[in-house]
């Protein structure tokens, strides 16, 4: 039982990274109907920006905060300059664009920062020790990642549910034309969505680097697949679904590694196929996802 709980906690920590990335995917999907395949590479790129800042003598947490701001601005700029041209057009154009961004940003990261191994973060951002809670060892890093995720999710919830700006963001996603008619600058709301998604991705990237050093330009590729699986599992339209989906995938993957004593799944090879299998099953069985909205409506 102790081992089980321990693996659940560790799974929640990696799951929260998937959840953050998935949340970014959901925010963009809800507002623009675009599945952003570049979400993971955006995160990698911003993580390397953080590395550069640290390399120039900025402290880790200072670089962390600065990177979020840079990612936010970068996401907005990306939407305003490139993505807006395909919004409202055919879905396939948008898909090709985000896959193109995926390749472009991946290439840029490899080109600017070369594909060499870097140790990042320089020091562990969280203490390496662990707490003992009734025999269950909870690493401070896992707890830290979970805590930051919880704070971010609560902040986002407050932004979307409690502020006028959040109401405008939701309205723009639900009915862009009606939103413009009440005076909301929908274009900027969509850009803001991209900014928020990029910032969430940056946190996911930074935590991925912290949890699996060294820094690697391809580190977000598997995370993107898990995040996509999480988003599809929860329902692409549902932020709660993305979080629950991400945590669930993190925990399940971790438990499989721990208890798979018979089949000996080669997890490093099998993780991604399993994530795809999860996506496939959800799409076949319940395309709206577990938390997908079923809008009630009278005509």
């Amino acid at each position: 039982m102790t081992q089980f709980l321990q693996q659940v906690v560790a799974g929640l920590a990696s799951g929260s990274i998937y959840a953050l990335l998935a949340l970014g995917i959901v925010i963009i999907y809800r507002s623009t109907g675009i599945v952003n395949f570049a979400q993971g590479e955006m995160a990698t790129f911003t993580t390397f920006v953080a590395w550069t800042l640290v390399d120039h003598g900025v402290g880790y947490w200072g670089a962390f905060a600065l990177t979020l701001v840079i990612a936010f601005a970068g996401g907005i700029a990306l939407e305003r300059t490139i993505v807006r041209r395909v919004e409202g057009g055919p879905v396939i154009t948008a898909v090709i664009l985000t896959i193109g961004l995926f390749i472009l940003l991946g290439g840029l990261s490899n080109w600017i920062w070369k594909a060499e191994v870097r140790s990042f973060p320089p020091d562990r951002p969280f203490p390496t020790s662990a707490w003992d809670v009734g025999g269950v060892a909870i690493s401070k890093q896992d707890a830290g990642i979970l805590a930051v995720t919880v704070v971010l999710v609560l902040a986002l919830w407050a932004l979307f549910q409690l502020t006028k700006l959040g109401l405008a963001l939701r309205a723009s996603a639900l009915n862009p034309t009606a939103s413009r008619l009440v005076g909301i600058r929908v274009g900027w709301m969509l850009a803001l969505g991209w900014g928020l998604a990029a910032a969430l991705g940056a946190v996911a990237g930074l935590f991925t680097a912290a949890a699996n050093p060294p820094l690697d330009p391809n580190m977000m590729r598997p995370v993107l697949i898990y995040a996509l699986a999480a988003a599809v599992l929860g329902g692409l339209e549902s932020p709660v679904g993305a979080i629950v989906g991400g945590l669930a995938i993190g925990v399940v993957l971790n438990l499989i590694v721990t208890y798979d004593t018979h089949v000996h799944l080669d997890l490093d090879r099998m993780r991604i196929p399993m994530a795809f299998l999860a996506i496939l099953i959800v799409l076949l069985v319940r395309p709206a996802g577990i938390f997908g909205r079923t809008a009630v409506r009278r005509v």
């Binding site: 006028k164 109401l167 405008a168 639900l174 009606a178 413009r180 929908v186």
Partner: protein, 235 residues
């Protein structure tokens, strides 16, 4: 006196298809003006052209300001509220949130505006937490109008408020509109298929045919016009 809203030779197109071929019309301060016409005559497009939802050529002026080719956001800021075809509600949001969005451009005075709107639609308060999409058709239309009023508009654009509603409900809605016009001096440009009702509730009217103004004049005169009667009133 210059009119509140003035369209001069407005053309509009959806891609290669021209929907308006030079429409000129005006709405005076505090005036109710109706636009009649069959399906595809360009009624909805006329409203969309005013709001900047469709690309246009020609001049649109509102309260002395040129708003041709302005974005819908800017037109809303200028003081025009548009209740579009299909009502344009946020179906998934509550009645109250829909009203809050109506007041999006207002920095203050929400409570006063809410009270003012509630005086016309008292049932809103009982339903404030209900999802807008679950209201009846008549209630949805009223909510759409109420939301438009939250923006404190000088001009209300209404696209077929009677569509799909029972006659009794339609009468109620037009009674409220008459009230708003009389008591608050709200100017209204209403597009309607229900010509009889539209002519009775407006002071002037335009008849659109294939993207052009075919007839215009005081509503009472148009109601007597032989061809209007045959084509739109059915007697």
């Amino acid at each position: 006196m210059t009119p509140l809203l003035e369209l001069e030779d407005v053309e509009a197109r959806y891609g290669p298809v021209r929907a308006l071929h030079g429409v000129s019309l005006s709405v005076g301060e505090g005036e109710v003006v109706a636009v009649l016409g069959g399906n595809g005559a360009g009624k909805t497009t006329t409203l969309r052209a005013i709001s900047g939802l469709v690309s246009t050529a020609g001049e649109v002026r509102f309260a002395g300001e040129r708003i041709s080719r302005a974005s819908p956001e800017r037109v809303a800021r200028a003081g025009i509220a548009h209740v579009p075809e299909g009502r344009g509600l946020f179906n998934e949001l509550s009645v109250y949130d829909n009203l809050r969005l109506g007041a999006f451009l207002q920095r203050s005075g929400f409570d006063e505006d809410y009270e003012r709107v509630r005086a016309h639609f008292p049932w809103l308060e009982d339903r404030r937490d209900q999802q807008a999409g679950t209201l009846s058709g008549g209630e949805q239309q009223m909510l759409a109008i109420a939301r438009a009023l939250m923006a404190r508009p000088r001009l209300l654009l209404l696209d077929e408020p009677s569509l799909g509603l029972a006659p009794l409900v339609v009468r109620e809605i037009f009674a409220i509109l008459g009230d708003l016009n009389e008591k608050e001096g709200l100017a209204v440009l209403v597009v309607e298929q229900n010509a009889k009702l539209a002519l009775r509730s407006s002071s002037r009217a335009y008849v659109l045919e294939v993207g052009r103004v075919a007839l215009e004049g005081p509503s009472a005169e148009l109601a007597e016009n032989e061809s209007v009667r045959k084509a739109y009133l059915g007697y």
